[in-house]
């Protein structure tokens, strides 16, 4: 078994940037590939400011910060993945794009390299299908924000070999994360429960059962949740909820997963949540920047 020294991360967006921080912080040489150079530059700046904050808050020494930053390499050329022992993909949530990426990575990466997908809604088996190393592909679903959240949902695809899954699991633990095993089924555990639950909340608002603020208050007081579902939806973005619904409903045909009419109307009206300043709640005009 080859020791893992270099971690490849494909996609340097919201999730990829966070996952790369996790890998570099755990001591791995971390090579990030994104086809968009701006995404790499943005992530580099975000990484520096995140680590600076970690130092400020006493979570990391200044010297350690420099070491972590020195472990990064960034490229718009996929051949940078040639030295990766593990590749975690966090590119756009599109089956065809992910499949094409894995097929290409299969040509570029060493034989022993493991491939992991951070997909939220797609099937690991389908992503891996035809890539040429289905036995070495696993699902590794990090939570947002990846640099802070410890949980990783790990799923073997139908053709994932037990040895590969064991190696991926051990790697996840070596990253300092907490893996849990789930089946390769739509949404794994988290989104499987969350997407329809949030839709039920939206339908409840639409039916006039209670106001969004009332529902959030009930959930927080009655169940001890830290955040109410309407606040959470505003944070995630109502447009993102529609994408999740479409992905889920397309696979499961569960009516609870279908985007509720009110959700569609709110998105059509530009009420996307915090990012547009208004969703279920009003955040004022500069909420986009204040977040």
């Amino acid at each position: 078994m080859t020791e893992i020294k270099t971690v490849g991360v494909c996609g340097s967006g919201t999730m990829g940037a966070g996952i790369a921080i996790v890998a570099a912080r755990a001591g791995y040489r971390t090579v990030v590939f994104d086809e968009n150079a701006d995404a790499l530059t943005r992530a580099e700046a975000q990484t520096e400011s995140f680590l600076a904050k970690s130092v400020e808050r006493g979570k990391m020494a200044e010297a350690e910060k420099s070491d972590v930053l020195a472990r990064f390499e960034r490229s718009t050329d996929i051949s940078a993945m040639a030295s990766a022992d593990v590749v975690i993909e966090a590119v756009v949530e599109d089956l065809a794009v992910k499949r094409a990426l894995f097929a290409r990575l299969n040509e570029v990466c060493p034989e022993h390299a493991l491939f992991a997908s951070n997909t939220s809604t797609l099937s690991i088996t389908e992503i891996a299908g035809g890539c040429g190393r289905e036995d070495r592909v696993a699902g590794m679903h990090f939570c947002l924000p990846a640099q802070l959240m410890k949980l990783v949902e790990m799923s073997p695809g139908l053709n994932t070999s037990p040895e590969s899954f064991t190696r991926a699991w051990a790697f996840c633990e070596a990253l300092g994360q907490r893996p849990v095993q789930t089946k390769d089924s739509p949404g794994f555990v988290l989104n499987y429960f969350l997407v329809p639950f949030n839709n039920d909340v939206i339908r409840m608002v639409e039916a006039g059962v209670a106001e969004p603020g009332g529902i959030d208050q009930a959930i927080k007081t009655g169940l001890g949740y830290k955040m109410g579902p309407c606040e959470l939806l505003d944070l995630v973005g109502l447009d993102t909820q529609i994408l999740l619904c479409d992905a889920f409903y397309g696979v499961t045909h569960d009516p609870r997963a279908a985007a509720p009419p009110l959700l569609k109307r709110m998105v059509a009206a530009g009420r996307l949540g915090r990012k547009s300043g208004r969703g279920f709640f009003d955040y004022g005009r500069d909420a986009m920047f204040g977040g």
């Binding site: 939570c143 089946k183 089924s185 039920d200 409840m204 006039g208 059962v209 001890g224």
Partner: protein, 214 residues
């Protein structure tokens, strides 16, 4: 301060033990609060508000309904509680289309003065929380059977990933699967939505309870 009287018919699920709301009850208060499983309520327009503790039934069962115009000084309420668990501080206060706003405010004042948090909702089976969480619990129980994840991993995932204080399986085992069965079945009968049909594990727990009690 608005005064209130407690009229207790016994076996209240909302107030099974002492609470400031019970301690501060006076004779002939401005708000009448009927607690217990067998409320015996009569309309009384002289009260600022009359509150009736609800189980899974709608307030309309007690007041009657007509043409979507029902509403008076009578409100329903339940203090949210899962099975054998301790009651929470949440009161779901149930109004009808034409309920007096003054009655809602008087009820809210009395309940909040006793340290409770009040959320107003309309008169639907399961109010807010039961209506939202029962499908989630049924899903969790069904997925445990189907091997989506182990009970420990499912609970841990929801705690770590969403910050829930407790995972669904441990919560249902702590508070009693048979109680979940009863509430979910009542909602299934009203809504006819299969997501409320009690999951197999809840049915088993219910049947075992019935055998114990035979």
């Amino acid at each position: 301060m608005t005064t209130h009287s407690i009229i207790d018919s016994g076996d209240s699920r909302s107030f099974p033990s002492s609470h400031p709301l019970l301690d501060n009850s006076v004779e002939d208060g401005a708000v009448a609060i009927h607690i217990g499983a067998r409320p015996n309520f009569r309309p009384d327009p002289s009260k600022l508000a009359i509150l009736i503790e609800l189980g899974t039934e709608c307030l309309g069962v007690h007041t009657g309904e007509s043409r979507g115009k029902e509403g008076s000084n009578v409100l329903g309420f339940a203090r949210f509680r899962l099975g054998d668990g301790e009651p929470s501080d949440l009161i779901e206060l149930v109004r009808q289309p034409d309920t007096d706003d003054a009655a809602i405010e008087a009820a809210r004042a009395v309940l909040e003065a006793a340290g409770l948090t009040v959320t107003v909702c309309r008169d639907f089976a399961g109010r807010i929380l039961d209506r939202l969480i029962r499908p989630y619990y049924n899903q969790a129980l069904a997925q445990l059977d189907q091997g989506l994840a182990t009970a420990d991993d499912m609970d841990l995932t929801l705690k770590l990933g969403l910050g829930y204080p407790e995972g669904p399986i441990e919560l249902l085992e702590r508070t009693g699967l048979e109680h979940h069965h009863d509430v979910s079945k009542a909602l299934f009968e009203v809504y006819g939505d299969h997501h409320y049909a009690p999951a197999r594990r809840a049915v088993v727990a219910k049947m075992r309870q019935m055998r114990r009690e035979q």
